[in-house]
């Protein structure tokens, strides 16, 4: 292929990465406005995320299928041209290249890495992910690049720790995450093994100018390019003096065809073993994380706690988008299965009766998208009055703020005239719950003037 064309592809790839990264940032910052009610397409349209909640994600099946076909036809073009985390890693790699070149422990100095490039750990991780997406074990949630990039740009602690890790990786090898660890990359890599038009080395003068492949997909000794690692970055292809890089079909490379097939059969087996081991590990994790946790108040519409934990990506979009800022991040103390899932703390506004922003932005529909009427009748929990704290019961003061702010048209809190009267001589009105009307929106809890709060929502 002409050097000029290859150079054009390289420039195109860099522009594409910059464009998608900018688009990602724009979408991210736009999504902070609750009135944008924006679904993040980087999470909405993804084959692995699709699997976690197939029936709710059915409307995006066509796009996901398109991504799969794209990978089968062109290979890991998503990784090289689109992935925003990939773009960030590439920028870090570029900035840290002087340090990496001087690092005595850089991966390039270890010949055994070649086997890991051919059979990367990411395949095993993909196996774990593929089995755990159907179970409550949160594995994909902590391995998916598109979720990590969101955690990074939202400057959460875990995100920054991960960013630190990526920077550390950059000191050892280019695209280390993408080559060895990323399960999404592994999935696209598997699809890239479908024998279609692939980049090949057809002629070579053994000058070694091209021996700089970021994922080391190219094995220059025997002039092979591993399609499952090639990101189509076109970084050095244009420097080839013989213009030896060509897109060819597998049949074209006549010499050594038999051995190539044999080799690919063996490698297929090895890949298969890794995937199977991954599936087994995933099964094991599933057993560990089967425990159901029900003491947390979940965003409106969530009725199946196990399904929610399973589907929630921990992207925290709901936490950032909630106009009332009542969705909080679950930290330690609720088990690993609930780590970084959202839960509700109702002060200062409670869950607004007419608001559905969290349902609209959840990219995986872990918070189901309901009609307004459904949302207004699906209980988050149910409120209980603590008569030992309520000033009406305790101090004979007429209050009824809870009844006043209850948004249910029929009111889930009513009052009864008590025998006593207030210090001012008015008849005393005691608030009473009507639990079957309560949807646990927590507005009463948020507005209760007693200290400690005399009305609270429980699961």
């Amino acid at each position: 292929m002409r050097s000029r064309a290859l150079k054009g592809l390289k420039i195109g790839r860099i522009l594409s990465q910059a464009l998608f990264f900018a688009a990602f940032l724009f979408i991210y910052f736009r999504s902070l406005d609750p009135f944008a009610a924006l679904e993040n397409p980087f999470l909405r349209f993804d084959p692995l995320i699709f699997l976690t909640n197939p029936e709710a994600n059915l409307p995006v099946l066509a796009v996901v299928a398109g991504l799969i076909v794209l990978a089968a036809v062109l290979g890991r073009v998503f990784c090289g041209w689109i992935c925003p985390l990939g773009g960030l890693i590439e920028a870090a790699d570029f900035l840290l290249s002087p340090l990496r070149k001087r690092n005595p422990l850089a991966l390039r100095r270890f010949p055994k890495r070649k086997a890991l490039i051919r059979y990367p750990v990411s395949l095993l991780l993909l196996g774990v992910v593929l089995i755990t997406v159907f179970t409550p074990a949160p594995v994909l949630q902590f391995l998916h690049p598109n979720v990590w990039i969101i955690r990074i740009v939202s400057l959460t602690t875990v995100g920054l720790v991960f960013l630190g890790l990526l920077i550390l990786f950059s000191l050892f090898a280019r695209r280390l995450w993408c080559t060895y660890l990323c399960p999404l990359g592994a999935l696209y890599g598997l699809l890239a093994r479908v024998p279609l038009l692939r980049l090949k080395i057809t002629t070579c003068s053994s000058c070694g100018r091209c021996d700089r492949c970021p994922t080391e997909a190219a094995n220059y000794a025997d002039k092979q390019i591993m399609p499952h690692q090639c990101l189509l970055c076109f970084d050095y292809e244009a420097t080839c003096p013989t213009e030896g890089f060509r897109f060819t079909l597998p049949r074209a490379g006549k010499p050594g065809r038999q051995s190539a097939v044999l080799r690919s059969r063996r490698s297929f087996l090895k890949h298969g073993i890794e995937l199977v081991v991954g599936l087994a590990v995933g099964g094991l994790l599933t057993g560990i994380f089967r425990r159901r946790i029900t003491e947390l108040l979940r965003p409106p519409g969530v009725v199946d706690e196990a399904r929610f934990v399973e589907n929630c990506l921990r992207c925290l979009q709901c936490v950032r988008s909630c106009p009332n800022q009542i969705i909080k991040i679950t930290g330690e103390g609720y088990g690993f299965a609930s780590l970084y899932t959202p839960h509700l703390e109702f002060r200062p506004y409670g869950c607004d009766y007419f608001c559905q922003v969290c349902q609209q932005v959840c990219p995986n529909r872990a918070i189901p998208l309901q009609t307004l009427v459904q949302k207004q009748s699906t209980p988050i929990g149910v409120a209980r009055i603590d008569e030992t704290a309520c000033v009406v019961y305790k101090e004979q003061i007429n209050c009824l703020v809870c009844e006043e702010v209850c948004p249910i048209p029929e009111k889930a809190i009513r009052y009864e005239l008590a025998d006593g009267s207030t210090t001012g001589g008015e008849p005393l009105r005691e608030p009473k719950m009507v639990p079957e009307r309560c949807i646990g929106c927590g507005i009463c809890e948020a507005k209760c003037p007693a200290e400690p709060v005399a009305i609270s929502v429980f699961v």
């Binding site: 106009p323 009332n324 009766y353 007419f354 608001c355 006043e404 048209p409 029929e410 003037p449």
Partner: protein, 297 residues
């Protein structure tokens, strides 16, 4: 007799119309409360303001005006938990026609401010009329100032929104609805929204608190949206079945008298409402004896 009455009214009205052209500022200044029955909200608001002296009586050229509708809840306008956006728009228009330099529209909401402003339709209506809409997210010292309440029984001092304290004119735009703790919420209760205090606590002595805040800060003009009144399950409502069409706009420079007039729409006597009784005791105006003018459009 009827024909004579009609002719009399006609004569008075046409004389009034003619006179208003000659002396626009003086006419109608004599009445305390103006009541307009009209299905056309904009015309009703304009007429009601006209009955109590016209906007020029309250707003001068170059004035900065603070307008405080009831935007307490995130609730669509048809449920009448919030002031009708047309009332807000008409008042802002009138202010600018009278030469106001700037009009601010805001409330300290119970629900999320932005959600409430948008859902109620008030943000759009106010901005289209050229007003500046302010969100009151938190009670900062930048936005609130502590003032003492002379003669206050429950409130000795209270935080009040600076935009009101620093404005040249302050217009109160309540919606009339039933209220579980206070009985009714109209103009006086609406002023709870100007304070930065913990208002949930005020409920523990609600009638004193409402009358106290009205002593601390007096609105120049109150225009009550009683186009449809929420007769039960207030102040949130949320069902059209709770509403009664009353097609009424009430205007008065006295908030207590505007409230007293609106109270009658609910079939309640002003004396039966705790804070109105206290308002009269605290010298905010007679709630029984006032002049009123009523017009049907």
């Amino acid at each position: 007799m009827k024909r004579r009455d009609f002719l009399k009214t006609l004569a008075v009205t046409s004389f009034g119309l003619a006179a208003r052209r000659l002396f626009p500022l003086d006419i109608g200044a004599s009445t305390d409360v103006g009541v307009v029955r009209s299905t056309d909200i904009e015309a009703g608001v304009k007429k009601a303001v006209e009955l109590v002296g016209g906007i020029g009586r309250y707003i001068g050229a170059g004035d900065v005006v603070a307008v405080k509708p009831n935007i307490a809840f995130n609730s669509p306008p048809q449920y009448k938990a919030t002031t009708d956006p047309i009332v807000v728009r008409t008042i802002v228009d009138l202010c600018y026609q009278a030469g106001a330099s700037r009009v601010y529209v805001f409330d300290r909401t119970v629900s999320n401010p932005r959600l409430s402003y948008v859902t109620s339709g008030i943000e759009r209506a106010a901005e289209e009329a050229g007003a500046k809409v302010l969100y009151v997210d938190d009670v900062s010292s930048k936005l609130y100032k502590k003032i003492s309440v002379a003669g206050g029984v429950y409130l000795k001092e209270t935080l009040v929104n600076k935009y009101i304290l620093e404005s040249d004119a302050f217009i109160n735009l309540p919606v009339a609805k039933q209220h579980s703790t206070a009985g009714l919420t109209i103009g006086m209760k609406n002023l709870m929204g100007i304070s930065g205090d913990n208002r949930s606590r005020w409920h523990w002595d609600i009638h004193q608190a409402i009358s106290d805040i009205n002593m601390a800060v007096k609105s120049d003009l109150t225009v009550v949206d009683a186009t449809a009144i929420m007769t039960r399950r207030g102040p949130t409502g949320g069902s059209l079945s709770y509403l009664k069409d009353t097609d009424t706009i009430i205007a008065s420079p006295s908030v207590a008298q505007a409230d007293a007039e609106a109270t009658l729409l609910f079939g309640i006597q002003p004396q039966d409402l705790g804070y109105l009784r206290l308002a009269e005791e605290k010298g905010l105006g007679s709630i029984g004896a006032y002049t009123r003018k009523e017009i049907s459009l």
